[in-house]
Amino acid sequence: MIISAIKSKDVSDKRSVLHPETIKNLISKGIEIIFESGIGDGIHVGDQTFIDLGAKSVSRESCFSNAEIILTPSPIDDHEVKLIGGGKTLMGMVSPFENQELLKNLCDSNINLVSMEFVPRITRAQKMDVLSSQANLAGYVAVIESSSLLSSAMPMMMTAAGTLKPARVFVIGVGVAGLQAIATAKRLGARVEAFDTRDVVEEQVQSLGAKFVKIDLGETGETSQGYAKELTDEQLAKQKELQSKVCERSDIVITTAQLFGRPAPRIIDNSTIKKMKRGSVVLDMAVESGGNVEGSKVDEIVEVDGVKIVGISNLASKVAGHASYALSNNFNNWLLEFYDEESKNIRFDFEDEIISSSVLVFDGEVKNERFK
């Protein structure tokens, strides 16, 4: 079997779905690997390194046409779909909610689609969970970036030149990214507070030594997959009001609230921003899926009343090295879990929860309920 790996369409995305440390695994199983030349540039790994490990450097087109499975970190163009033969498999992160057209095309061309975003959130599948692995790093980067934008230091320092107060960091939305943001900010010595609509999160916040802000919103909840349910309008209003008090005293606010498959909830309004201290930083981690913060723009720092509203796309790509390593491991783990060495093929066993969730298109059919 031949597997190919291509670069992201987005040139600012430095991540690679191949990483030297994981490539050996696949090759040892008798899988051939071809990759788009320059795939490792963003992580300072030259083609030669991959070639030395036994992979082959080819053109992008050749990646599409010559492999049974094509690994991609981003959606592909329509004309590229055409290059892929029927019965082949496209595997990667293609943001299916935003690219429903692509799904249709793939169906039409009888190309299977494995969407890594749809790996279910169960313990067993965590090793393939790209959303977790990338959100985790994104949470780290969010803190590093916002602390570098803050005009004061994060930790408390009692010095001869006076006591420098520790920064107050408020993390809204405590999923994987939020937790890592909390952990990183705590490490840097900030006072950290956090809020989430899901109750279970309180203990998790405390398990990192941070403070959970209690806001009673009445009945909230989470789906069986561990994702948050959408709030009612009243609940959202109440949350905003009580949150704004915490925002006022914070130096850094990091919002991570997302709703799987729907636009992110708007949880910080301009009115809150106006009450915040000048010089403080608001980093909107949900900026790409609609934004939690009013006025946040992708890859821009908008200054409103002295408050920096920061939107950075693809935070994980800022630590492309680790991000690629994690990503390529996730891909590998999926492949190795379902690769059958005898038939030299993938076992598409729809009894398996992971297959049934992550394989969106199979045999020219959309398999996932949400896209039917």
Binding site: I122, T123, K127, S132, N136, A183, R187
Partner: protein, 460 residues
């Protein structure tokens, strides 16, 4: 005068023997001095026996008895397999009880006009007799020769006899005051002797095998009390001192032993193993709890320890004490590693954040792939608030929701301590068969407190 001097000598020797017994018992309670303590108490016994034997009644009977007893006792003691020592202790104890039983019986004839003496004799016969037959039953149960337990018909019969025997004491005590007897007293007396012996059977029969050590300790305490009573009967100080020492310290030891098993004595005697069975969950088998003290004793002797932290360590914020425990173990010459499962906790790298905060060196952290192959060389794996990541179902039970996930295979370590607050499940919500394995001990409680407990045991 001659005779007088011997009594004086004897009595001084008795005082000395008593001091040796006291010292011996005290030393037996500490690991480093225990063996010496036993020797010291043996010397006390030797002295007491020798000075008593100076003016014996009938050398043949006395020497014959001693030699015979010494022979039998020594052979048993030396030949017995290490594993069957507990039942031997029960047996020896029973014989001691039997001896006091005989002493009291023999002294029955001297009680004619002394009510107090009579009273003592009746009681001593009872205690000695029950100790004997009870110990025999304990011996039978421990050596698995006797398989009758609670609920069996015979058991219920003997229990009734036990209650009757208790009543019979009262009868015997009141009897002499009534005056004229309907029956020959001798016959009544023999019936009493028989009741006593059977009563002891009824006392021990319903108690579960696992609780036997505690019962033996209690019987041991009883035989001490019997000896002390015999001392009162014979007006012999050393019997009183030695007997009541054993009676009292034996009682304390019984309580300590019961506590170590998380039981009360009342619970053991009257509720039996029913209670412990109730606490274990259905089919999975029995859970074996352990306390910090015993866990410490095991850890102290371990030469390699693997610490497996999980979400519970984070919730308890126990990372600092965990590091301290690790350091103490290392100081003790133990090889310590931390087994970090990739999904332990609730976020990627959760354990790393905490352990780094607590200053655990990165070099001590190991992944499952590193530790699993050498798990069988690990003496103790300490699982701290982890659950899913050490769940053998993931490798053994194809139906399990976590089947297929690589885990830290702590079950292969010689001993596993699992520190958690209850039997509740982890994130994945599945029961963990690890907890029911033979070599697993549960240390229940908040992880931070449990570890602190271990740490302070180390510092004692």
């Amino acid at each position: 005068m001659e005779n007088f001097d011997i009594t004086l000598l004897q009595n001084i020797a008795y005082i000395f023997a008593a001091i040796l017994f006291i010292t011996g018992i005290k030393m037996l309670g500490k690991e480093v001095t225990a063996q010496k303590g036993n020797v010291i108490s043996a010397i006390g016994m030797f002295i007491a026996i020798i000075v008593t034997a100076i003016n014996i009644v009938n050398p043949f009977v006395v020497l014959g008895g001693i030699l015979l007893g010494a022979f039998i006792g020594s052979v048993i003691a030396v030949k017995v397999k290490m594993t069957s020592i507990p039942e031997m202790v029960a047996l020896f104890n029973g014989f001691g009880g039997l001896a006091t039983f005989f002493i009291a019986w023999s002294e029955m004839s001297n009680t004619n006009d002394n009510l107090f003496q009579y009273l003592l004799v009746i009681l001593t016969i009872y205690i000695g007799g029950v100790t004997f037959s009870g110990s025999l039953i304990a011996f039978g149960k421990l050596s698995e020769r006797l398989k009758i337990g609670k609920g069996h018909l015979l058991t219920n019969l003997f229990i009734s006899i036990f209650y009757i025997s208790l009543v019979s004491i009262l009868v015997m005590l009141v009897l002499p005051m009534i005056g004229s007897l309907p029956l020959n007293f001798e016959i009544i007396f023999y019936v009493y002797l028989a009741l006593v012996m059977l009563g002891g059977v009824g006392f021990v029969l319903p108690i579960g095998g696992g609780d036997m050590p505690v019962v033996i300790s209690l019987l041991n305490s009883l035989s001490g009390i019997a000896a002390a009573f015999a001392g009162l009967i014979l007006v012999n100080n050393v019997l009183i001192v030695a007997g009541s020492l054993v009676g009292a310290s034996g009682l304390i030891l019984t309580i300590i032993m019961a506590k170590a098993m998380n039981r009360t004595i009342g619970n053991i005697l009257f509720v039996g193993y029913a209670a412990s069975a109730a606490s274990s969950s259905s089919e999975q088998g029995e859970v074996k709890p352990i306390n910090a003290e015993d866990a410490f004793l095991i850890l102290e002797n371990a030469s390699s320890v693997l610490i497996v932290p999980g979400y519970g360590m984070a919730v308890a914020q126990a990372q600092h004490v965990v590091r301290e425990l690790g350091e103490l173990l290392e100081e003790n010459g133990t090889d310590v590693k931390y087994g970090i499962h990739p999904v332990a906790g609730r976020m990627p790298g959760h354990m790393n954040v905490l352990l780094a905060e607590a200053n655990v060196s990165y070099d001590l952290l190991a992944e499952p792939d590193d530790v699993n192959p050498m798990m069988d060389t690990v003496d103790v794996a300490i699982v701290i608030g982890a659950n899913d990541v050490v769940n053998p179902s993931a490798t053994e039970e194809p139906g399990s929701p976590i089947y297929g996930m690589p885990i830290l295979e702590v079950a292969n370590a010689r001993t596993v301590f699992v520190l958690k607050r209850s039997m509740s499940s982890g994130f994945a919500g599945v029961q963990n068969p690890l907890f029911f394995k033979e070599n697993t001990r549960m240390l229940f409680g908040d992880a931070k407190e449990s570890i602190s407990g271990l740490v302070s045991e180390f510092k004692d």
